[in-house]
Symmetry: C2
Subunit: 518 residues, 2 copies
């Protein structure tokens, strides 16, 4: 049976299942059709899938309620909302009969020395059959900042359905994927089907600002909550195109603050302009030495540390179905940094880059202000790939910027700090977890998934792999154009609902992994 | 009588006047002392000065009420407060019996094409005796933006007295000087003394954002409100040090927006970093070509247009009592752009400079955000001096930035716009208006004022001089360390109260100007 034929049959079966449900006919007529297209799990999958479809509106409503909570972990003024978000997550899991805990992970020290409580981490457990595998689903319910005036077409905290796309901050990153996992478990329960594996949840609220406190919590529970966990599943990433994908690598990230401080307070640029050496001019001067217009990083030592592109990698990238024009159109640019697919994918996934995010302390509002800012702090980050080491990068960047700054002979003071230092992560795509992912994608979408890497960073993957020695898979359901961290973030109903089915199918596939390969 | 002796006598007289008032003794014992130290106006001045002193707390309260109104003209969300500020100003002048009008000056077009009402301009008139001179006092009651989190030690909109300094946004720029003028007129009225000249007021609410709509209003009233105005007085500047000052020149200002636009929306720097040509990198690159670390402007043609420093100027600057160490300490820097007084004053007053104020559209909040901003707009300005021409500068800057940008071969789009183009202004320091200023300073402070220029810009001065052909004086009362446009703006009680007396004395001196020299 060809892929097309398979796909058509799956669609037919699902469609019939819908129709039959609508017409209240006896569902027992279905098995004979479904047996044609799948394994021993076929019937179970179709019934679960049908359950998911028929609860779509309910799932959208729950997502709407979650998006309405401004759980922005970067803004301490929103901390009460973030605490509430964790409570609501815990309560949802409790109502499903899970063994739920809200784990206190201590406090966060603010730049001014103040202390503020970190959002508790939610852990939950469904099933504890020692004959089954135990998976732990990691997700987060905090979000990036978002304001209507940043250029959102809709209120970022009011989930808005436009042509089947659900717009809202955190919709794709990471609230819908977390809910999809919850709904996957709920569907098994609702249909009185036994979960094929034990499912644990680890849901945090500080992912967007570096997962403060999570590493320590994981280490502390190594011999308790995590002791029986076989596999970690992370769904905090996106597909590459229209096809489902399995993610086997992420870039790390070193995030820097470069602060230039001069006068003791902001000055009127008319009154003082020309007499003082302006911190903003100094800062612009050193930022301009980080990267060339053609993307070459100028900090000595950075490029030298990068592992060379192997022939296998080149071949893998070459074979990936990636539409450059589509990518360009989606971003809305006429030209990318590289004009061929392999170079582009390689620089998206396995080469470092420098992004300058912005400057704190300068005038950033609309309109005009004739100010000489006294203290300005640039925020920039360098994505990390094998074999870069954040500790080394920290020194390379600091030494370089100080040497460039020294040449300016400025009386202002430069301070360079690295506030995030997350290593890259790579998995073995031959691992049974990935084979299970391929099979699940085939069941739900009737096609092989892309094997991709992720330019973004999921620091916790390294902790699970290096420290906890667990195998990890990244199983995304977000669309390639979901606009994570941007204005108008969304997830499509299609990805949200079919993604829930993917998780259902995946649990079944993981149950088939032989205990010996664990 | 030496300057010191004179000053001591003035102080003695004032002190006695205080003491006598407190002890409710007959004030008629004063004239014999006061006659020693001044002209025919001595008695009148002392009585007025005493009135001002005894009403100090009331004046501070009025200033407190004015500062409490967040009349930030750059923030359209504060427009209702700004309208209220104009109403309150008009009402205060009405209650004093002035002929007051609130002049509608139309609407402002916002970048998005929206229209918003401009704050009305307040005009008022006290006295219309054609045998007297008529002065028109110009001032403004809008303020620069201010937020506590910018680094204010106190709430910027709650006037706070710390050791005799009154901290609050707009305290010195320009609310206290406007109130000082109003109180000067009020004092004459309260003591039933005839105003020595007719006094008109022109108070606007858009000064901090370029006096939108004011030029047209002035031209429209050239033959009505302004027809009998002999002299314009502007008190929207500051002293240079501890001594009173008369200001005879201001720099102009060309304020630019340089916008670089790339992707159609902000992007996640992990997901897209390395594949797109980032607008922020482009913007930093072109900003870095404006000025060298040592203050040399790199835009071709700018330096060539500047009038050479004359020997007379050099001599004038050399003679000015200016404490470089004090200036450094006040600003809080270890080194200035120039290490000798003449160079420093010249670059403060009569050479152009470039200040980069900030970037709109990039991440500017505290914390971290891994974003590639899609559209970033730098705000920078170039101070204008004779013989620069804003229309020429506009072209020079735009051509230069576009040529620098073209070399980057970026697919992003650059747009350079000049949003303010204000010419510099220079007055003749031998004009009777300045002679009157010298005499008034002598009366109140017992010393000659400094003749200074102002690095900042007061665009309306050019309109009055060139278009209306009126003579102008700038008569500051703000302290040299008032922190205009900065955090912790303040005016001292000393400058506020003695400044009010200066205005009282100045009105008397102007009355002495012979009609023929008008």
């Amino acid at each position: 049976m060809s892929r097309q034929q398979h796909r058509s049959l799956v669609c037919l079966a699902e469609e019939m299942s819908h129709t039959l449900a609508v017409e209240k006919m006896n569902l027992l007529v279905l098995p004979s059709i479904l047996l044609v297209i799948s394994t021993a799990h076929a019937f179970q999958y179709a019934e679960l899938a049908q359950y998911i479809d028929s609860h779509q509106e309910e799932y959208v409503e729950v997502l709407r309620n979650w998006v309405a909570i401004e759980s922005d972990s970067s803004n301490i003024l929103k901390r009460p909302d973030l605490h509430r978000m964790m409570e609501i997550t815990a309560q949802k899991l409790r109502l499903m009969g899970g063994t739920v805990e809200l784990v206190d992970i201590g406090v966060q020290e603010l730049p001014g020395g103040q202390m503020i409580a970190l959002p508790k981490v939610v852990t939950a457990q469904f099933g504890n059959d020692s004959n089954k595998h135990t998976v732990c689903v990691y997700g987060h319910v905090d979000v990036q900042p978002a304001k209507l005036e940043d250029g959102w077409a809709t209120d970022p905290y009011n989930l808005t359905d436009i042509n089947g796309n659900l717009y809202g901050r955190g919709a794709s990153d990471n609230k819908a994927p977390v809910l999809a996992w919850i709904h996957a478990v709920e569907a098994y329960q609702a249909l009185n089907m036994e979960l094929p594996v034990n499912v644990k949840f680890l849901i945090e609220g500080m992912e967007e600002t570096g997962s403060n406190g999570l590493d320590a919590m994981i280490l502390a529970q190594r011999d308790t909550f995590f002791s029986d966990v076989d596999y970690i599943i992370i769904s905090d990433c996106s597909w590459l195109g229209q096809r489902p994908a399995l993610t086997y690598g992420t870039r790390g990230n070193c995030y820097f603050f470069a602060e230039v401080e001069g006068p003791k307070q902001d000055l009127h640029s008319g009154v003082y302009g020309g007499t003082v050496i302006e911190p903003m001019t100094d800062l612009i001067g050193i930022l301009d030495t980080l990267i060339t217009p053609s993307g070459k990083i100028l900090i000595p030592g950075i490029r030298e540390a990068v592992a060379p592109l192997s022939d296998e990698e080149w071949k893998l990238y070459q074979d990936i179905d990636f539409d450059m024009d589509n990518y360009k159109n989606k971003i809305g640019v006429s030209q990318l940094m590289y004009s061929n697919k392999v170079d582009l994918l390689a620089h998206m996934w396995r080469y470092p880059t420098v992004s300058i995010h912005g400057i704190e302390g300068a005038f950033s509002d609309p309109g005009t202000k004739t100010v000489i800012p006294a203290k300005v702090t640039a925020k920039f980050s360098i994505r990390q790939v094998p074999n870069m080491d954040p500790a080394v990068v920290k020194k390379q960047v600091s030494d370089y910027l100080h040497s460039v700054f020294a040449k300016r002979k400025s009386p202002n003071k430069l301070k360079v700090t690295m506030v995030i230092g997350a290593k890259p992560w790579l998995a073995d795509t031959q691992h049974p977890l990935y084979e299970a992912g391929k099979a699940a994608a085939k069941t739900v979408f009737g096609m092989d998934p892309d094997l991709i890497r992720e330019g973004g960073t999921i620091p916790i993957a390294r902790t699970f792999q290096d420290v906890m020695e667990k195998s990890i898979i990244m199983l995304p359901i977000g669309g390639f154009d979901d606009g994570l961290h941007s204005q108008n973030e969304k997830i499509s109903r299609y990805n949200y609902i079919e993604g829930t089915k993917l998780f259902i199918a995946y649990l079944n596939e993981v149950a088939q992994i032989k205990k010996t390969v664990m």
